[in-house]
Amino acid sequence: MEYILETKGVTKRFGGLVAVDAVDLQVSRGEIRGLIGPNGSGKSTLLNLISGVYLPDGGDVCFNGEQITRLAPHRIAELGIARTFQNNRLFLNLTIQENVMVGQHCRTKSELSQALFRPRSSKAEMLQTRRKAMECLDFVGLNRPPEFIVAGLPHGERRLLEIARALATEPEVILLDEPATGMNPSEKDRIVDVIRKIQEAGITVVIIEHNMPVVMGISDLVTVLNFGRKIAEGTPKEIQHNPDVIEAYLGEDDEEEGSSDAVEARES
């Protein structure tokens, strides 16, 4: 079986620190993959390697069986991998609609000469881009006036907007970096619904998340990183009972505790 997204022994060093150490990750089409691990375990670095923000020091990243290791980030986005960022990186002085329209950039073609002479095709494309942007905003359930400047948006809606912007690139795989961070319970439910909807739309999801109920609730498979290494992989249930995982999160412990609770206990 062919994986939609695969890393083969991918490695990244920062000076003496090995942030990601020979990680093999295989993600199948249509799944939701959770990526967890303690702080500094290399989750975000791994996403940066996949999306081309960092160049790996070793190993390969493959998308649909093709190697994408040394491609520029905008080429990777064009091929169909979109992402969000751990700390929002929205275009703050642009409007909500414009932010999402940037996502459509790699699916549209108008160049400088079209900007100057505005042929009918380019006008139609602009309309189409606007329409698509509104669709994406609808999809994540962000109903604000499209002319609203993003700088005035509260945190929870910024998270949704980032997802809408990523969806506007019409991806096959979307990488979400801690989408539920800093959200209240009702906002978290909203994010979970959106992620489910993304899966239903046929898009593969890789999600980094610290919130255990969220990630365990929606992931088909969970991969656990610690100190840059993959230490476990399996269904949420298997992971919750995996002694290595519990040790990574809590440190070695003499007392026997209800292990699945232990993971969740850390969360609260």
Binding site: P73, H74, E78, R89, N93, L94, E111, A115, T129, T169
Partner: protein, 330 residues
């Protein structure tokens, strides 16, 4: 929406009509010269606005492009016997090419301050070349007797007549700035200004659009240079000094970087107001400096940014706090 855009077009048409009528009203040759210079500065500033205001990069090259455009146009007319109407496009394209060649290595390797420092270096190098390549540029003596433009037998040899040429290019290039800003390419440039990494990851080829923005600003500089050469009739290397680069930068920042109208307001203010301040000649630099500091503190987004903010606040009062529509300025 439809109505606001209609009202806007009326507003712009009135502005253009006033601009066209000015030479009929203003008799003084002196003031017409000032207006011509303001137009030239406006084009320089509009070029910088694409690079600085839209794409968010800091640079001082505009003055070097101005010089290159001036010399290219003047020499094309004197040595190659080109008419003005081919010399100007030639100068614009030539300057654009230089800008493109400078942009490729700079945009590949440099970010932020390093890029700014490179552009300062480029300004100095250009001036030194103009000064020392005596066989071509006649060095520090400058090039005198640059021919005036002629069209349909009309010689554009007075500030009143030349004004129409300046105005023509101001309108064309400002309209182009507007069309660019509202296009797919302009949106990509603004995304780069806001967050370069995010833009790249969303599929924008940031390198390509940075090179494009730089090249376009060079083309604007080339047009301004050509106009300057044929308006003044004499050019020398000591016109294109670093201080002029700072002036152009201030025009963009004071008018409002990123707004199509920003360079228009900035250039008009910074060429006309100093003329009014002539009576307090010795204090000119002081007034200027204080104005820039006050602007930086109280209106960091320039005059247009400030008016937009005020408009937004009024809207929020009227429509209620939360869902107040916020309109981006043009």
């Amino acid at each position: 929406m439809q109505r606001t855009s209609f009202r806007k077009s009326i507003f712009y048409l009135v502005l253009i009509a006033i601009a066209v009528l000015i030479p009929q009203i203003v008799e003084s040759r002196y003031y017409m010269s000032v207006l011509n210079l303001a137009s030239i500065y406006l084009i320089l500033a509009a070029g910088l606005n694409i690079y600085l205001g839209y794409t968010g990069m800091m640079g001082f090259t505009q003055v070097a492009f101005w010089g290159i455009g001036s010399y290219a146009s003047a020499l094309a007319m004197i040595n190659l016997k080109m008419p003005f109407w081919t010399a100007l496009p030639f100068a614009a394209l030539f300057t654009g090419l230089i800008g493109f060649l400078l942009a490729i290595p700079s945009m590949r390797r440099l970010k932020r301050f390093y890029l700014s420092v490179t552009t300062i270096g480029f300004v100095e190098i250009t001036r030194l070349i103009l000064e020392n390549w005596e066989s071509l540029t006649k060095g520090a003596d400058g090039l005198p007797g640059i021919p005036r433009p002629v069209l349909w037998g009309i010689k554009f040899n007075t500030p009143h007549k030349f004004y129409y040429i300046s105005l023509f290019f101001v309108i064309i290039l400002t309209a182009f700035s507007y069309l660019l800003k509202n296009s797919r390419v302009g949106l990509a440039m603004q995304a780069i200004r806001e967050d370069e990494l995010a833009a790249e990851v969303m599929g924008v080829n940031t390198f390509r659009y940075k090179v494009l923005a730089f090249t376009l600003s060079a083309v604007y500089g080339g047009v301004a240079g050509s106009l300057y050469a044929h308006f003044v009739g004499y050019i020398s290397p000591n016109v294109y000094v670093f201080q002029e680069a700072v002036t152009v930068l201030c025009m963009v920042l004071i008018g409002g970087a990123g707004y199509v109208g920003g360079p228009v307001i900035g250039a008009l203010l910074l060429t006309i107001v100093p003329e009014w301040l002539r009576f307090m000649h010795e204090y000119k630099a002081l007034v200027y400096g204080v104005a820039v500091v006050l602007m930086a503190v109280y209106m960091p987004k320039g005059i247009l940014g400030a008016t937009e903010q005020i408009r937004t606040r009024i809207r929020q009062r009227v429509f209620g706090e939360k869902n107040a529509p916020v309109y981006p300025g043009q």
